[in-house]
């Protein structure tokens, strides 16, 4: 007689299946990511918002998510200077990879779609908040 599959075993198998699918795209935290910013929307407490391309805000072209080093980093000023933000929290939701941090009185969060790599970054401080929209791709051969 065939035994009934316990519900937790089914859940576990389902989780593994989902994880396998996500890792195939490389957005599950198993490989480092390189992300490009496209658009920025920034608002101040006086309800004034501006938006534009990342280049108009003079932002770095790429930022790197280093899961092993637990930092998000970029190079600026002709690669002469490296800046980085420590990742304080890393969670996976159903479809998103969520990274969070606190730095210089600002809280930041990066949400990365685990299937397509679309990225949304939010940074909020005392009197202002802004969003950066872009996309990420995994760095091949840079597995953890």
């Amino acid at each position: 007689m065939r035994r009934k599959l316990p519900i937790f075993h089914a859940l576990a198998l389902g989780s593994i299946a989902i994880a396998t699918g996500a890792s195939a795209a490389g957005f599950d935290g198993s490989a480092n990511l390189i992300c490009a910013a496209n658009n920025v929307v920034a608002c101040t407490k006086s309800s004034v918002c501006v938006q534009g391309e990342a280049s108009t805000f003079d932002l770095p072209v790429f930022m790197y998510v280093d899961f092993k080093g637990k930092v998000v980093k970029a190079r600026t000023e002709g690669d002469a200077k490296q800046v980085e933000s420590p990742i304080k929290n890393f969670q996976k939701s159903n479809t998103q990879l969520i990274l969070q941090g606190i730095e210089n009185g600002h809280g930041w969060g990066i949400s990365i779609d685990q299937t397509g790599g679309r990225m949304t970054t939010t940074v909020s401080g005392e009197s202002s908040s802004f969003m950066i929209f872009g996309a990420c791709t995994s760095i091949k051969g840079d597995k953890q």
Binding site: F8, V48, L59, K70, S85, P86, F90, Q91, S128
Partner: protein, 111 residues
């Protein structure tokens, strides 16, 4: 039954740890090298402030003032009119006979 409960507990523990992977990184002592809360924030906000000020300046730029029209000088009264005026002033005792003579002479000589 005990074995089954143990497996269940371990599964729950694994699920919890998988869903809540928390990193703890040391805080930076110096401001140099801050990224999202530093360099990016600074550049975005300075750009936003610059653009907001530019837009406000554009919005509140005072309307150009109309060019002030230069009033045309009134036509110089004729000598006849000036002499009549002198006569009136002299008759009214507003000027002395001496002043009357001097002014009359000036009018006739064309100043």
């Amino acid at each position: 039954m005990k074995e089954r409960n143990g497996v269940l507990l371990s599964m729950v523990a694994c699920a919890a740890s998988a869903g809540l992977l928390t990193f703890s990184a040391p805080a930076r002592a110096d401001g140099a090298g801050w990224f999202l809360g530093g360099m990016v924030t600074s550049r975005v906000l300075s750009n936003a402030e610059r653009r907001t000020q530019a837009e406000e300046a554009q919005a509140y730029r005072p309307a150009p003032q109309p060019v002030q029209q230069v009033q045309a000088q009134p036509a110089k009264p004729s000598k006849e009119r000036q002499l009549q005026e002198l006569d009136r002033l002299a008759a009214g005792g507003y000027i002395t006979p001496q002043e009357y003579k001097e002014r009359r002479k000036a009018v006739l000589e064309g100043y």
